[in-house]
């Protein structure tokens, strides 16, 4: 008798932002609940042990990214790390300027923080020591978020970005290492050289890259989230090179850059996840790069009227995005989910704001019917092949149901 499996095994193809927790990170997390439960600010033995574990996590992360331990700060999220980087550097450099240069395809956290900080003027009050009542007040004018466009593949115009960075009044430049939605890598080396010669710090959002590819040394601030490399949620990483001027844009706290600190067990699990990802990075790159090549080829060949986007070569190993003409993105995600596949989407109907992905919009590619794939480590080839086998039928069925076949 033929038995139909009512519950197909789940195939996770949506590891962007939050990958499945790596088994070693899970073990480390559980062990740290016993070892590192205490408040690391306390002076007793348990508190000191938690502090030691937390510092060890920072040290391990520093070693992977090629930084000093005291350059690594842990944040409660990737978003918090990016917000703090933009806010604290623009505040620290308010005498140099208040413009923030960004690419059009940065994460919303970067774009929004740049808008937020650039748009407000800052007032600096200096109380002279000699006469306590005499204050000299300097108001720095509001700046702008300078947004540099991208080409059809999602790569920023490097010359335009460098030119924008060289203008007077720039407090900070921010360029992602690679785009997490479409996989395209950005020209961070060229931009960092221009920023350095202009004396402008460069924030590189390596959220989609860290643990997956070598993020290099072309940055002054580096941000990431542990969920992206198989760590737990609730840990962001911000690495700030010594010498980058920043000033806390928030009330005072013992944890100066991220008030309240972070969960010690989560920090340890994040560090273990990054070490593990770093150790098998080349193998994971080869395996997943081949699977994305397979996906790209088969989706383009077997699904009619599909826009497969992003740079096919100079890209992240695990990310692929495509859009199916006339198909509702939400219906597509739901239909694939019903067949056991977890995929993401940048279509407007899949976002609560009903706005399409700003990345796809900046690239000028189709935003509806969008499927965003980010393969977790260890994705099996047969699962990807099964997805490729099933996708054309799912898309055809949705088009038939909507009466758009042959349009």
């Amino acid at each position: 008798m033929h038995v139909v499996d009512a519950n197909p095994p789940r195939v996770i193809l949506d590891a962007g932002g939050q990958a499945p927790l790596l088994p070693v990170a899970r073990e480390a997390f559980i062990a740290a609940l016993d070892e590192g439960w205490a408040d690391p600010r306390r002076l007793h033995a348990e508190g000191r042990r938690a502090r030691l574990l937390l510092d060890g996590a920072r040290e391990a992360i520093a070693a992977v990214v090629g930084a000093r331990t005291d350059e690594v700060d842990l944040a409660p999220s990737h978003t918090a790390a990016l917000h703090a980087a933009v806010r604290d550097v623009t505040r620290g450099r308010r005498r140099s300027g208040s413009d923030v240069v960004v690419s059009a395809v940065e994460r919303a956290a970067v774009l929004n923080a740049a808008q937020f900080t650039a748009a407000r003027s800052t007032t600096v009050q200096v109380t002279t020591a000699q006469v306590a009542t005499a204050q000299s007040t300097t108001t720095h004018p509001a700046g702008s978020r300078v947004t540099v466009g991208v080409d059809r593949s999602g790569r920023v115009d490097a010359d335009a970005f460098c030119q924008a960075v060289r203008q007077p009044g720039v407090a900070l430049a921010a360029l992602q290492h690679a785009n997490g939605e479409v996989g395209t890598r950005q020209p961070v080396e060229q931009v960092h050289a221009a920023a350095r010669s202009a004396g402008v710090p460069l924030l590189v959002d390596a959220g989609a890259s860290l643990g997956h590819v070598d993020v290099g040394q072309s940055w002054d601030l580096l941000a990431a989230g542990a969920g992206d490399f198989g760590g737990p949620s609730g840990i962001g990483v911000l690495v700030t090179r010594t010498g980058v001027r920043r000033s806390p844009d928030r009330p005072e706290d013992e944890d100066r850059w991220f008030p309240g600190g972070v969960s010690v067990p989560a920090a340890i699990a994040a560090a273990v996840a990054l070490q593990s990802a770093h150790a098998d990075r080349e193998q994971a790159d080869r395996d997943r790069r081949a699977l994305v090549d397979l996906l790209r080829r088969r989706v383009a060949a077997e699904v009619p009227d599909v826009d497969v986007v992003g740079d096919p070569e100079d890209r992240l190993p695990h990310v692929l995005t495509f859009s199916c003409l006339y198909v509702d993105g939400e219906a597509l995600v739901t239909a694939l989910d019903a067949r056991g596949y977890a995929v993401g989407s940048g279509s407007a109907c899949t976002s609560s704001a009903l706005e399409p992905s700003h990345v796809l919009a900046a690239m000028g590619v189709l935003t509806h019917g969008n499927v965003r794939i980010a393969l977790p480590r260890g994705t099996a080839r047969h699962d990807v092949e099964r997805f490729c086998d099933d996708l054309p039928g799912v898309v055809a069925e949705l088009r038939d149901r909507a009466g758009v076949t042959g349009l």
Binding site: D305, D307, S323, L325, Y326, V327, D328, G329, S347, A348, C349, L354, E355, P356, L360, A361, G364, V365, L366, T367, H368, G369, A402, V404, L407
Partner: protein, 79 residues
């Protein structure tokens, strides 16, 4: 002076993606090359999706403008 004609108007106001593109594609079906169609849309995705659809189908966007009431009007020449 003569303003460039907009051709037939496809009213997709109030529809959300992918419905405006579907309505436009239906209107475009079987039209001879050179035909002008102007789609009116309020869906934020239409601003990107109409030109992307035109590119995929070999049509040309000849004009794109935002009306005073916020409605997007894109004129496409069938290729």
């Amino acid at each position: 002076m003569s303003e460039q004609p907009d051709g037939e108007v496809v009213d997709a106001r109030g529809l959300v993606c992918p419905a405006p593109i579907v309505r436009l594609a239906r209107a475009a079906r079987g039209r001879p090359a050179g035909t002008l169609l102007t789609v009116l849309a309020t869906d934020p995705a239409a601003e990107v999706d109409v030109p992307a659809w035109a590119r995929m189908r070999g049509h040309t966007v000849v004009r794109s403008r935002r009306e005073d009431d916020g409605v997007l009007a894109v004129t496409v020449q069938i290729g």
